[in-house]
């Protein structure tokens, strides 16, 4: 009688933990890529270019998401629009992940406003003051009498990190700012809001937005390649160790002329002048 009871209880326990334990989904893709939403258009175009040869699965989420995923082992390629931090390298090594970084493109962060806004140019200092909250009205920077609505990115964004380093220089963005989750979201808000100012990668500048010059310099492919535009930055893809197999093929494709032409088509600057 007791043996039966034990066996029954054991069966119950096995059933419970067996059902709870079955939660693993097999990755179907050959190569997984995740991370920066700035690099995302490049990644998607590359995936499209490799249809039929390699199955590439692409997702966004921000540079920090990509790097964290590489460290956790849940992705093969991490896309990021900022350099990896020291703390991230430490965590990676602690996890026996040894990141190998490739620069795959150059990007400029464009400052955008609504097309009806009369302002044409802002200096880095003015941008910092606006985002800190010390300048609150457009007429303080040469526009009409209207309040400034600041649009910023969430903290997992590489675009935000670059903005924080180059423009904010460590100062905090005003807490009354709108925080959005992607380049497209910033573009959406700024194109619908006459008071708004925001920052996006140049690939996301549409006719519904007006790009300002920063200190007289406009954001473009040329000024991004030679870094004469102040808010310019390189874009990266990182792998765990030097890549091999399908992952290596993807990286080589991105760095090839064909891949760099894709980078240019998508709206970013290639890493070298193409023939």
């Amino acid at each position: 009688m007791t043996v039966r009871r034990i066996v029954r209880a054991g069966f119950a326990a096995v059933l419970v933990f067996g059902i709870l334990g079955v939660a693993f989904v097999v990755q179907a893709a050959d190569v997984t890529m995740t991370g920066s939403t700035t690099v995302l258009p490049i990644a998607q175009a590359v995936a499209e270019g490799l249809i039929g040869q390699i199955d590439v699965e692409v997702s966004g989420g921000g540079s920090s998401v990509g790097v964290a995923a590489l460290i956790d082992g849940t992705t093969m390629i991490a896309n990021h629009s900022r350099a990896m931090k020291g703390s991230e390298y430490e965590k990676a090594v602690a996890n026996e992940v040894y990141p190998f970084t490739f620069q795959v493109a150059n990007d400029a962060i464009s400052v955008v406003v609504h097309p009806s806004n009369s302002v044409e140019d802002l200096t880095l200092e003015q941008l910092k003051s606006i985002y800190e909250g010390s300048i609150t009205n457009w007429n303080q920077v040469g526009g009409t009498n209207a309040p400034i609505t600041i649009v910023s990115r969430d903290t997992s964004s590489g675009t935000y990190e670059t903005w924080e380093t180059i423009v904010m220089m460590g100062a905090d963005v005003d807490e009354g700012a709108i925080y959005t989750t992607s380049n497209a979201d910033v573009a959406n808000e700024v194109s619908n809001n006459t008071y708004a100012i925001g920052y996006v990668g140049i690939a996301y500048v549409t006719p519904q937005l007006k790009a300002l010059t920063v200190g007289g310099k406009g954001a473009s492919i040329e000024t991004a390649i030679n870094f004469s535009y102040p808010i310019a930055r390189p874009l990266f893809m990182s792998t765990n160790g030097f890549p091999s197999g399908s992952v290596l093929e993807v990286i080589l494709f991105v760095l090839s002329d064909a891949g760099q032409r894709i980078v240019q088509d998508v709206g970013y600057a290639p890493i070298r002048v193409l023939p």
């Binding site: 921000g62 790097v67 709108i178 989750t181 979201d185």
Partner: protein, 317 residues
């Protein structure tokens, strides 16, 4: 007794025990001895899962308080990536409260009114149509509501009220109200329909009008069910992440104004979840927000059940 009388007196339900198939073999053994363990284990899966979730969230949240004082955690500055990192959750608590109050303020009157209409006033075909529409509304995914809020409600509010931005607590409240409305209306309608028809008949018998009956007899009689509907609607509003993330503006500021962007506990976690490397202080802080959310939900449910119980006893249902 004659045959006819025997048949008339035989019970209408066959109470004889079912004969199991394969009555001598393994199947009989299984049915007789294993049914209880199987059902018990299946039922306990949800409890075990809940227990594990609570355990893991608190396990990751507690380490935060080695580095941040509890008082600082309820401070007014949320700046996790600053030079001097601050993890004050108050802006998000206030944001959640504001958006939830706003949502319920819209959804409860509308929901109860819809429920009353469907249960008491609507003619047959309209009743079915209205109920189907409610089911449909309840089935729409939250990201679709968020998209609708972003594309339609936010620009409309910005234009109409001349706001700095359409992404405000009010926008989030409106969207949440639309999401909670089917839940509240559906459950309230069930509660009202469950009131025995004898109550309404008795009320009519003493000369009450239809409105007097609804207001003074049916609704009080259905009170505990109505409170249950509110609790579920409240739960939906507090727990909603995607729609709020898209339309509320996500500003970590403490404000009592519905016309300013706010950040809630749920969207605060979703917004920064990707940034955190496992084990960092920021990571622990986000888990602490999750733990806070859990505690608030538990406290809410507990208080609401207690309230419901008292009212049920008071109103005799």
């Amino acid at each position: 007794m004659s045959r006819e009388k025997e048949e008339a007196e035989a019970p209408m339900i066959d109470l004889r025990p079912l004969r199991p198939v394969g009555s001598r073999g393994l199947l009989r053994l299984v049915r007789k001895h294993w049914d209880r363990p199987v059902f018990f284990s299946l039922a306990s899966i949800s409890i075990v899962a809940l227990g594990l979730i609570v355990y893991f969230i608190f396990r990751e949240a507690i380490p935060l308080f080695r580095e941040v004082q509890v008082a600082d955690f309820f401070g007014s500055q949320w700046r996790p990536t600053s030079q001097v990192a601050r993890f004050g959750a108050m802006p998000m608590i206030v944001g959640s409260a504001l958006v939830t109050v706003g949502a319920l303020g819209i959804a409860i009157p509308l929901g109860f009114a819809s429920a009353t209409f469907i249960a008491e006033v609507a003619p047959g075909f309209l009743k079915d149509v209205a109920k189907s529409v409610l089911e449909l509304l309840a089935g729409i995914p939250s990201v679709v509501y968020g998209f609708f809020g972003l594309a339609v409600v936010a620009p409309f509010l910005q234009g109409w009220l001349h706001l700095a931005t359409g992404r405000t607590a009010l926008t989030a409240s409106i969207i949440l109200a639309i999401m909670a409305l089917p839940t509240i209306a559906s459950l309230a309608e069930d509660a009202l329909t469950a009131v025995p028809i004898a109550y309404r008949e008795a009320s009519a018998a003493v000369g009450a009008t239809r409105w007097q009956t609804i207001w003074r007899v049916t609704i009080p009689a259905a009170f505990s069910g109505l409170i249950g509907a509110v609790i579920l609607g409240l739960g939906r509003a507090v727990g909603e992440t995607m729609a709020v993330l898209m339309v509320a503006g996500n500003s970590p500021q403490i404000t009592a104004s519905f016309l300013k962007p706010v950040r809630t506990l749920t969207s605060g976690i979703a917004l920064e979840m990707g940034e955190t490397a496992f084990g960092s202080t920021h990571d622990h802080a986000l888990f602490a927000l999750g733990a806070l959310l859990l505690l608030i939900t538990l406290a809410m449910n507990w208080a609401a059940e207690g309230f419901r119980g008292r009212l049920a006893r008071k109103h005799g249902r």
